[in-house]
């Protein structure tokens, strides 16, 4: 299991929204370019969990406790998603002292 202790949060370029009511839908919006990503409930829950306060490891452990899935499969999928979101700058690093956004490289704050 990885031990990624970095703090990540949703980039200020993005906004998450859960549409409830007669239609249940999950979206990630790029508020600069206007791009819309349709998410499933699990991706939405993962992204929403990145509040800049809990580490990647904390969030992964919560996910393992919550979902009835083989921990190794969930860990692999989760880390792959997080890597993709970081590379797309959907998730950005947080400096724990200043809380300001920082560029990230390989999951570690520069």
């Amino acid at each position: 299991m990885p031990s990624d202790m970095s703090l990540l949060k949703l980039s200020s370029d993005y906004a998450l929204h859960k549409l409830e009511g007669s239609i249940l839908a999950f979206h990630l919006f790029n508020i600069n370019s206007g791009e819309i990503y349709k998410l499933n409930a699990v991706s939405f829950a993962f992204l929403e969990a990145f509040d800049g306060k809990r580490t990647v490891m904390d969030i992964l452990e919560s996910a393992i406790a919550h979902y009835n899935i083989d921990p190794q499969i969930l860990t692999d999928d989760f880390m792959a998603l997080v890597g993709q979101w970081k590379s797309l700058h959907i998730l950005v690093g947080v400096n724990p002292e200043s809380s300001s956004e920082r560029s990230i490289d390989n999951g570690f704050i520069k």
Binding site: A15, H17, L19, E20, G21, S22, I23, A25, H27, F29, N30, I31, N32, S33, G34, E35, I36, K38
Partner: protein
């Protein structure tokens, strides 16, 4: 089904998006039911106007929607050069398919009509006529303005510029709602919209508003005229807004506020609808996408489960939903029952 702009499809949300842009607030009239509180002379420069126009274009491209825009004021013909700057932009903007101008008609002359006739996407110049008679119109819009508006319409018609009439119904003129249709046919305009006033301006309080019983009988009379004229006249009577479906299930539509329209004011501030005066951001400062995707007000408007219980129980909720602007203006709650709804 989810639309390209991330929102659920509703009856009125076809593959188009409508902007109503009040690019200046100056006006030469002070009409009784006007919703402007001020008539400020501060105006954006050409660069900022074009930034807003470009932002609209980018949004339409991203959503792959056809754009419809009504350019207005204040009175847009008080700034003809800026108006034509915007007409030039939208004429040459691929996503925009339909351009309209909303005017009081009093400043229309041969020169501006000549310029209008060069724009192929200018599909309508809408002139406000609030009475079928000079007496009624001028009592609302000021002396001499009925004649001026009719003269303006005549110039537009003579140059084959498509025209329409906007009739805003209040207690003062609702008795002429039917005869304004006759006048529209006589004048040869292409379309007429008969819409109720919203009490949001400094000279228009709730006492000006047509009560629900009178509104019902008025809508019924207009719907009957519309049926009679169908196929016998080129005049289109527009009945696409909330409550019309209560007189004829084939008429009306769900309020597009929050779904497929945005009003923009002279300083770039955005409203869900011009008559629903709750700012949701500023196009220049926040950008359209940020406003459209993150405004809590817009998300509330999109959530039909937040509508008043009366609306949710109504069989027409999917096609009507009531006017959110009237609800807000008269109750302070934008999701309240439309105060002019007559349904038991």
């Amino acid at each position: 089904m989810i639309a390209n702009n991330g929102l659920p499809e509703v009856a009125t949300a076809e593959r188009s998006f409508y902007f109503q842009w009040h690019f200046l607030e100056r006006c030469n009239l002070r009409c009784q039911h006007c919703y402007q509180n001020e008539y400020v002379t501060d105006e954006l420069g050409n660069d900022d106007l074009l930034r807003i126009a470009k932002a609209m274009e980018i949004a339409l491209q991203q959503w792959r929607y056809a754009g419809r825009i009504s350019i207005t004021g204040g009175e847009p013909l008080l700034a003809p050069e800026k108006l034509c700057l915007l007409l030039d932009f939208f004429e040459n903007s691929n996503p925009f398919r339909w351009i309209g101008i909303l005017t009081n008609g009093t400043l229309i002359d041969e020169a501006i009509v000549g310029r209008f006739s060069t724009y192929s996407k200018l599909k309508e110049v809408q002139v406000s006529l609030d009475g079928a008679t000079e007496q009624t119109h001028d009592a609302i819009r000021g002396q001499g303005n009925y004649t001026r508006a009719l003269k303006g319409l005549g110039l537009l018609r003579a140059a084959s510029v498509p025209t329409s009439i906007m009739f805003t119904a209040t207690q003062h003129n609702v008795h002429e709602a039917s005869s304004i249709i006759d006048l529209a046919m006589e004048l040869g305009v292409g379309a007429i919209t008969i819409e109720r006033a919203t009490p949001i301006g400094p000279r228009c309080d709730a006492s000006e508003i047509v009560d629900h019983k009178l509104l019902r009988s008025t809508y019924e009379a207009i719907a009957a005229r519309k049926k009679c004229l169908n196929g016998h006249s080129s005049l289109r009577i527009r009945t696409s807004r909330p409550l019309w479906c209560l007189v004829d299930p084939e008429l009306g539509g769900f309020c597009p506020a929050g779904f497929s329209c945005l009003a923009i004011l002279h300083n770039g501030d955005a409203l869900p609808c011009r008559r629903l005066e709750i700012p949701v951001g500023n196009i220049l400062k926040d950008g359209i996408f940020s406003i459209w995707y993150t405004s809590k007000i817009l998300w509330q408007l999109r959530d039909k489960s937040l509508l008043a219980a009366d609306c949710q129980k109504c069989a027409f909720v999917g096609r009507c939903g009531g006017c959110r602007a009237s609800a807000y203006a008269m109750t302070g709650d934008m999701m309240a029952r439309d105060p002019q709804c007559w349904k038991e």
